[in-house]
Symmetry: D2
Subunit: 352 residues, 4 copies
Amino acid sequence: MKKIGVAVIGCGTIANSAHIPAYMKNPEVEIAYFCDIRPERAEEAVRRYGTGEAVRDYRDILNSDRVDAVSVCTPNNVHSQIAIDFLRAGKDVLCEKPAARTYQEAFEMQRACHETGRILMIGVCNRFNTSVNRIKDLIDKGELGEVYHVYISFRAHRSIPGLGGDFTTRAVSGGGALIDWGVHFLDIVMYCCGDPRPVTVSGQVFSKLGKDIAGYTYTDMWAGPPVLNGTYDVEDSVTALIRTEGPTITLHGAWAQNIGKKEMFIDFMGDKAGIRLDYGAGFTMYTAKDGALLEITPKFTMANMYENEINTFIECIKTRKNNIAGIDNAVITSQIMQAIYDSSDKGRELVL
Amino acid sequence: MKKIGVAVIGCGTIANSAHIPAYMKNPEVEIAYFCDIRPERAEEAVRRYGTGEAVRDYRDILNSDRVDAVSVCTPNNVHSQIAIDFLRAGKDVLCEKPAARTYQEAFEMQRACHETGRILMIGVCNRFNTSVNRIKDLIDKGELGEVYHVYISFRAHRSIPGLGGDFTTRAVSGGGALIDWGVHFLDIVMYCCGDPRPVTVSGQVFSKLGKDIAGYTYTDMWAGPPVLNGTYDVEDSVTALIRTEGPTITLHGAWAQNIGKKEMFIDFMGDKAGIRLDYGAGFTMYTAKDGALLEITPKFTMANMYENEINTFIECIKTRKNNIAGIDNAVITSQIMQAIYDSSDKGRELVL
Amino acid sequence: MKKIGVAVIGCGTIANSAHIPAYMKNPEVEIAYFCDIRPERAEEAVRRYGTGEAVRDYRDILNSDRVDAVSVCTPNNVHSQIAIDFLRAGKDVLCEKPAARTYQEAFEMQRACHETGRILMIGVCNRFNTSVNRIKDLIDKGELGEVYHVYISFRAHRSIPGLGGDFTTRAVSGGGALIDWGVHFLDIVMYCCGDPRPVTVSGQVFSKLGKDIAGYTYTDMWAGPPVLNGTYDVEDSVTALIRTEGPTITLHGAWAQNIGKKEMFIDFMGDKAGIRLDYGAGFTMYTAKDGALLEITPKFTMANMYENEINTFIECIKTRKNNIAGIDNAVITSQIMQAIYDSSDKGRELVL
Amino acid sequence: MKKIGVAVIGCGTIANSAHIPAYMKNPEVEIAYFCDIRPERAEEAVRRYGTGEAVRDYRDILNSDRVDAVSVCTPNNVHSQIAIDFLRAGKDVLCEKPAARTYQEAFEMQRACHETGRILMIGVCNRFNTSVNRIKDLIDKGELGEVYHVYISFRAHRSIPGLGGDFTTRAVSGGGALIDWGVHFLDIVMYCCGDPRPVTVSGQVFSKLGKDIAGYTYTDMWAGPPVLNGTYDVEDSVTALIRTEGPTITLHGAWAQNIGKKEMFIDFMGDKAGIRLDYGAGFTMYTAKDGALLEITPKFTMANMYENEINTFIECIKTRKNNIAGIDNAVITSQIMQAIYDSSDKGRELVL
């Protein structure tokens, strides 16, 4: 049988650490192209993985019949354009998170998806995480009763990425801690709680610790060293209160805050039981049984969520069925994040 | 010199654990009356402390010339009436927190205070706590820089007091976890941040775990065992986002939630440093110095905050000067709490 | 029916906080005497509890026919003499922990107990603690498999009691952190593991932080303020490795150490499951079931262990049966503690 | 100037993750040979690093004049033989930790080192760790006063490596959790405390959780999946009490124990201050200043300890001077570990 031809657009960290290794493991896939505007990165990928061709401009392969599907692994500012171009060229698309910089961009991606009938999946990889799916099952089975409040914490002490570079330049990234990290946490909540429609959003973002690029004290930095004459016009922390048709969601996150240890977790508060998910790890359930209170922490093998994600994408391509990480779900998270930014600008709550 | 004559109105837990012992230690005070609608409680106090007379109805001593000042230690529903009656009778008043059940009641107390020129102090005892005052000093000295966000956590696993009784009956208490515990936390923030005026309030309260009185699982209960045929019409948890003229304040509190251990703390996030206060205990400061990040946890002897409070009250009576726990400050917290309840009822943010 | 007449010998903290209230609640008991070498303490007890007579010298009531049983609540240095005198006078005895200052003293108490046939119970109150008994049940049922190693931690940052006074004077107390706190922890392990016979003991005690009484930095101190010209010749910390016929036991304890938070727990390591007991609180079990690893933390109401203890003592008096807190068990712990002190002096392990 | 020619003996995990990358970064080094008894591993290294030749038998290059120095990265059972052979052939040697399986083997390595005058360094990489060196400086400067007790904890819940394989086969590894992990912790203590001579050692090792290879429950496993018909004759946990001419050292470690989270730390208890080192991370100091107690947690950039180690080795080769990680230090740790195993076998303490 003919293999599914894939092009990887953008050959940076997420492509090399997640997408490409997972494609390489899937026997039904053949990577046809590595594309990057920095040609040496595409060429390096060809060498390293021993497959595919290097291209610089994705438009050169829009109509290639060796391409059935693409992974969009570029900076956020070109997600929308590239994804839409491939959809309209008849290709299936897996686009990294966040879907786009703004709700408007995400909305246009959704429209292109509906109009073309192609698959548009967003790389909200936690929907393929073992812990997250166990929690979703427990909620679906009613073990928590009514989940009436979810509290999201994604607070770090010093984790601004590449201060002054793409991550901290709004025109490229669309935002800071919220759009970069918050998107994952919000998406987990949306997924576990049945993607409830948001009703009101009040949020506030803060751009404080990164503003003085030269004066920012840290011990290490991912995504490269500070660019001293770079741009910092995004938030380093955020808080919000979101009423939905399901639970009320409150969130508090920071790339950088003058606090102690990282606090990365989600608390699902139900009237029968509650769960704390340690982000990226396991969870504990707090419940009552026969008049006794119990804490239960199961431990289990975590599957590779990136492989699950890529395999699901490939399966969808074959079956033409939507999946749990489609744009129709992702666009809701996009709308909420947009509302947080807008609410913060206005200094008051938005009713959606 | 003549001693200051004090009447203690309401002889329950807070009177016996805080007000009375502190008055007994102050050599300038003489307790003239113990008043309680349950006569045996007033009589028991007379016996135990070897001073004063027992009375049942506070109106009998409104005009007693043996009374210069009163402590109001009753349930919340009569705070306002009793305090106002004594103010108008020309007495000075220390009223337990919360000032009242509603903002309207608190506002009327403030008016009576202004009209009579008497002292009306509210028992927001944390303003006399050693840790809190150290934090206020650090903020005032600029050690934290701009405090732009404060996060309040007062979450417990199982601590609904006297389920079905006065604490959980709105007509008596005015509310649940927010008005009972939250008032302390909010007041600490107000005090440390210079009592900033609130601008917007969005909040949501939840009445979930206590609703099924017979089915509530717990290991111990303060303020008495459950009243199975009692009332539970208050919140067991609450969350809110409050914009002020100073920092944005977010709070998350619960008498009962399906969580793990208690999480009782306040995070003051400044752009130069941050502080976590462990409620009722010490604090840690997170700062940077000479390019290095530092966590510093001082340890120190905690003074008795109730004695500080009572001694401050007595000092005010003598000097006729206002103090840091006056009704003018307390009424702001009252306004915020009212707005949280109102916002929750309406399902949207209030602009104050 | 005639009540059991009890004399309380020593009317200090443990008498007032534990023994006397529990006797007062037991309808079969009548306290006949309160005895203390400081007469005002005995007289105060008579007043407070409204029963009994005050005496100064316990020898005056050795042969009183109003005394069936006594609680020995004195400093450690007179435990042995008083207990033996009452046993030989035909009375039943509940003696506070530790049984005595030395193994030799404890051994003589045991002999007197056997020779007289009276009851000699030691106040190892944790044998009446709800958590401890749940753990013992789990071990007895085989839920932990073979318990091969127990690690005891009773480490505090600053908790030397009454520095310079009775607690820190070896001639009175017999020792420091080990004999004061360690006795409880060792006793819990002995109880839960079936009182296994010790085989080898290697231990080291340290007398460091309390030596410079004036220079000792602390935030609060139980059992009174420092006596600047007092005595400090006991250990503030201790470590030991004990091989028994059952599990190997290692312990590490300190009244004072330059560490962070208190670490007060016991880890029972079994080959099927393990348990961590939080001293004075609950516990968590770590186990595996059907190929999955599980942590389980039950929560439950804690009974009052002092009432259980006193009621058990009274029951034994009536039934003439030994109980789980008899001298025959306590003497083993006494032997182990003696061996730790002796091993530390010699700088090498003892084979028992 | 001529580069220093290096041969890497054993091309497994530690070679690829630590030694080779650090050699590649050092401009004074040229890797001449990659040696592995599995030829494909040596060949793969030649390909990946673009330098050197692959050899199978280290004896073929003993006398090569392209080899000035070697890294021994093999399983423990051949450390001693290979290191001695290269020393006697006139080469300088960096041998991975532990020096050898037994004290006898380590002692022979030391003798060969002294007889040949060559450099024999052991890969106790933590001597090149930033946190560890900061702690050593603080101790050397007297900030902790007398360090009288050190408590080592290296306890994991489920981390037996390659159950049934080389790691768990005594003939290959020499032991389990102690020799594999404990060696690092003991070495840190030795280094920070001035390599004090041990005086007595009492220890007990336990082989419990790994014995039933098929029944061992875990969530993931490093160093490969279980070998169901393999060997498990090493300890999964260990405890010991070691008296030295300096501090008393107690240790408690486990690859696997039925406990909660990992507890990997070292507590240095001094009479002026104490330090807790979080293994592989930072540390907190607990001290007193001007009558106040303080916790201080510095944060700083961690240098790459493997590069420090390799660069130190190269520097020693050039200067012919010994360094802080020489066999004369490592042999003391080896002696202690041997004594723990021997003490455990005999069931009693050894006097060294």
